[in-house]
Symmetry: C2
Subunit: 420 residues, 2 copies
C-alpha cells in the first residue's frame, strides 16, 4: 500500500533538513550516486531491457521506445551529468538585490529551496536521476512518479539513489518514488496543495491537461515543442540545409526537434527541392505553394504529402517535417504566433535588421538566430542538466535547473524601524 500522506510528510521533513544543509554534504551524496551508477550499469541495463521487451509487446511506437532506451554509453553520460551537477555552484543562500533604503532599512533577497517537488513523467528513465540530482543540490525533496513503461528501469535507478542517500546519512525522504502506475494515486497527489510546493508534469499534452485541470499545486508545464525555423531571403542556404538537417534528424523524438520550416517566397523554388533532397528518410507535409516548387511526379507520394489542416499544429516527434512558403518575415512571424507552442523558434538570415526584428517580436521560451533549435536543453545551455523545459510564463521559462528550483525570501534588517 502506498501512503501518500506519509510520503509527503517525510518529504517535508527531509526538505527542512536539506534547506540548511551544507553544499559539501549535498555534493558528497551526489558523488556517491555518480559512482554507484557507474558500478551498477549491468543491473540498470537488465532492468531497462525488461522495459524495452514489454514496450515492444505493448506495441509502443519506435519514437517512444527510443525515448525509454538506456545504453552503456547513456548510463555513463548520466553519471557524468551528476558529476557536472556537483561542479555547479549551490544556489541556496545566494544574496541578490541588496539595497539600503532612504530610511536606513537594509534589504536583500536570499535564495531558498522551493521545498517539496513532485515530478510526474512518462518514458525517459534518465529523468529519474537528472531530477533527483538537481533537486538534492538545490535543497529540495522530490517525489517521483514515472511511467508504467519504465517501471523496471526506474525501480533500479531509485534503489541506487536510496543507496547513495543511506550511505551519506541523508534523509531517505529526500527522494521518493511512487512504485505504481495507478492513476488514482496521481490524482490524489496533485490535490495535496499544502504538501507539495511545485508540480512538474513531463509528458504529452494529455498529462499536462490532466494536471492543469485537477492540480491544486502550482504546476510547471512545458516540454511540448512545435518548433519553427524561418529561412529568410538572405539566409546562407547551405548553412540553412545543415541547420535544418540537425534540427530535424539529430534526435527526432524530443521536444526541441524541428517541426515546421517556413521558407521565404523569393528563394522557395530553389531551396525547397534542395531541402527535400538533403533530408533522406524524412516525410514532408507541404502547403500548396511549397508543392508548386516541385516538379510534378519527381518525388514519390510516400515522401511528399499536401499539408492537412492539423499538420502545422502537430508536434511530430518523428521524421516528419512541415514546410510552408511565406511572403516574408511578417507572415513567418504571424504563422509562428498562431502555431508555435512557445518552445523554440528561430530565424536563419544574414540580415541583421530582420534578425533583430524577429528577436524583438517572437515571444517563445527560446528565440534563435542562425542556430539549430536542438540547443534548448539545460546541459547545452550551461545549466548542467534540467528538470524540465518550461513553456509557461510564470516562474521560469525554457530549461529549468538549479536556480529555477529555488525561490527567495526578503531579509529586512532595521535599527528599530517603525513605519510612519
Amino acid at each position: 500500500m502506498i501512503d501518500l500522506l506519509a510520503m509527503t510528510r517525510s518529504a517535508r521533513q527531509a526538505a527542512q533538513s536539506l534547506a540548511i544543509m551544507t553544499r559539501a554534504r549535498k555534493d558528497e551524496a551526489l558523488m556517491t550516486l555518480a559512482n554507484l551508477l557507474d558500478s551498477h550499469t549491468d543491473a540498470v541495463l537488465n532492468a531497462n531491457a525488461g522495459d524495452i521487451d514489454l514496450a515492444g509487446e505493448m506495441g509502443l511506437s519506435p519514437a517512444l521506445i527510443d525515448r525509454l532506451r538506456l545504453t552503456q554509453t547513456g548510463l555513463r553520460a548520466l553519471a557524468e551529468d551528476v558529476r557536472k551537477v556537483v561542479q555547479l555552484p549551490d544556489p541556496v543562500g545566494c544574496v541578490f538585490d541588496r539595497k539600503v533604503l532612504p530610511n536606513g532599512l537594509q534589504v536583500h533577497k536570499q535564495r531558498v529551496p522551493l521545498g517539496v517537488l513532485a515530478v510526474i513523467y512518462e518514458s525517459r528513465p534518465n529523468v529519474t536521476v537528472d531530477v533527483a540530482s538537481l533537486a538534492l543540490k538545490s535543497g529540495n525533496a522530490v517525489i517521483l512518479r514515472g511511467g508504467k513503461e519504465t517501471l523496471h528501469s526506474n525501480r533500479a535507478l531509485f534503489e541506487i539513489i536510496q543507496q547513495a542517500l543511506t550511505s551519506c546519512e541523508m534523509p531517505s525522504g529526500a527522494v521518493q518514488w511512487i512504485d505504481s502506475s495507478d492513476r488514482e494515486l496521481v490524482l490524489s497527489l496533485i490535490q495535496m496543495s499544502d504538501a507539495v510546493d511545485m508540480l512538474i508534469p513531463r509528458g504529452g499534452a494529455g498529462l499536462h491537461n490532466f494536471c492543469r485541470e485537477h492540480s491544486r499545486i502550482p504546476v510547471m508545464t512545458g516540454g511540448i515543442g512545435i518548433c519553427h525555423l524561418f529561412v529568410d531571403q538572405s539566409a546562407d542556404q547551405e548553412a540553412a540545409l545543415r541547420i535544418i538537417h540537425n534540427g530535424k534528424t539529430q534526435r527526432p523524438s524530443v521536444c526541441n526537434a524541428l517541426d515546421t520550416v517556413l521558407v521565404h517566397r523569393s528563394i522557395a523554388a530553389d531551396f525547397i527541392p534542395a531541402l527535400i533532397d538533403n533530408l533522406q528518410g524524412v516525410a514532408f507535409r507541404l502547403d500548396s505553394t511549397a508543392l508548386e516548387c516541385l516538379q510534378v511526379g519527381s518525388i514519390p507520394s510516400s515522401i511528399i504529402t499536401p499539408a492537412g489542416p492539423q499538420d502545422f499544429d502537430t508536434e511530430w516527434l518523428s521524421l516528419v517535417l512541415g514546410v510552408k512558403v511565406v511572403a516574408g518575415l511578417e507572415e513567418a512571424m504571424d504563422h509562428i504566433r498562431a502555431h508555435s507552442t512557445g518552445h523554440s523558434d528561430g530565424i536563419l538570415t544574414r540580415d541583421q535588421a530582420n534578425a533583430d526584428h524577429f528577436v524583438a517580436q517572437v515571444d517563445s521560451a527560446a528565440v534563435y538566430v542562425n542556430a539549430s533549435t536542438r540547443f534548448t536543453d539545460g546541459g547545452q545551455l550551461g545549466l548542467g542538466a534540467e528538470v524540465a523545459i518550461s513553456t509557461q510564463r510564470l516562474h521560469a521559462r525554457g530549461p529549468m535547473a538549479l536556480e529555477e528550483l529555488t525561490t527567495y525570501k526578503w531579509v529586512i534588517v532595521g535599527n528599530d524601524h517603525i513605519r510612519e
Copy 2:
C-alpha cells in the same frame, strides 16, 4: 451582457501591442491617468460614499469598511503612486544572464511582459488604480474584477482609466473591468487557461481556495499574513514596545499588521505587563504562561482573554494581539513554522548570532530583524507600488510589482551552430 471571450480576445490583442510599446508612450498614459485622478476626486469620492453607505447597511465590519474607504488625501496619494510608477524603469527588454558558451553560442535572457493578467479582489478600490498602472507600465493587459462592496468606486476609477487610455490612443482592451458581482463569471474566467497568463486573487482565504480549486490558470496567492515578532532575551525592551505598537496599531486591518508576539521566558514577567500597558485599545489573547505574568484581577477580562485553540492560527485584521511565552529562540521558530502563513515574521534582539540564526532558519516571504512587519509593502520596499504580496513560493515572493509582472525569453544567437 458581459462577454468574457470578447474581453479576453481584446486583452490578448492589447497585450501584443503593449509588449512592444515604447516606455515613453506607456509613461504618457500613466501621467494622463494621474492628472485625471487629481481633477476627478469629487466624482470618485461621491461614488465611494455610495459604497460606504451600502457597506454600513449590509452590516460590514469596521475593519472591512476601513479597507474600502477613500479620502481626498488617499486619492491624492493614489495619483502620486501612479507618478512614482512613471519614474520607475521599464522592466521590458532588460537583458540579463548574458554569456558566450564554449562553442561560441551567444546567449542571454530578455524580460518580456507576462501577457494578460486577471486580478480578482475584494474591497480596497485603490487596487484598481495600482494594478492598472503597474500592468500598463510592464506591458501587460489586465482584466479587473473588484468586490461588490466597491462597485461604485471601481466604476468611477475605471472610467478615469479608460479616459486616459483613449486620450493617449492606447488600446482600450489594455485595462478591462468586469462590471458585475456575478460569481459565475469569475468561475468561467479562471478556467480560460489559454486566454489569461496569470491570475491574482486578492482577498480572504475563501477567494484563494476557490481560485486554487477551480483555476486552470497559474495562480499567485498571498496577502494573508499571520505575522509574528519574537522578543528575544537581549531585545531593547523600549524599542520592542515601540515596534510592536507600530506593527499592531498603525493600520490593523492590513495583512502585514502584527498578529502574535512571542516573548522570551526570561523577560516575560517584566515585558508582558509593559506590553499590555503600552497598547491601549488592544485586546489580548494570552497563553497560560503569559497570563501568569499578570497580577490576578489587575486588568479587566475585556482586555485579557486566555488564548483559545484557534487564536494562534488567526489573522486578526483588528486590534487583537496574541501573546505567548517561549523558552527561547528554538521554540519561537518552531511556533512560527507551525503557525505562520509565511508572510512577515521577525526577531527583536541585540544578539547578532540569534539574529543570523533566525534569518537563516525562518522561511517567510519577509524575514525581519529589529523592524516593524508593516514594511512588507511594495511602496515601502522601493518597488513604487504593488499588485499583491505573494506568500506562495513559485514565481515571486513578497511584494509584487513591475519585474514580478514580467517573464523572460532566452535569446540564442549562433554562427550557423548545429548540435553535435
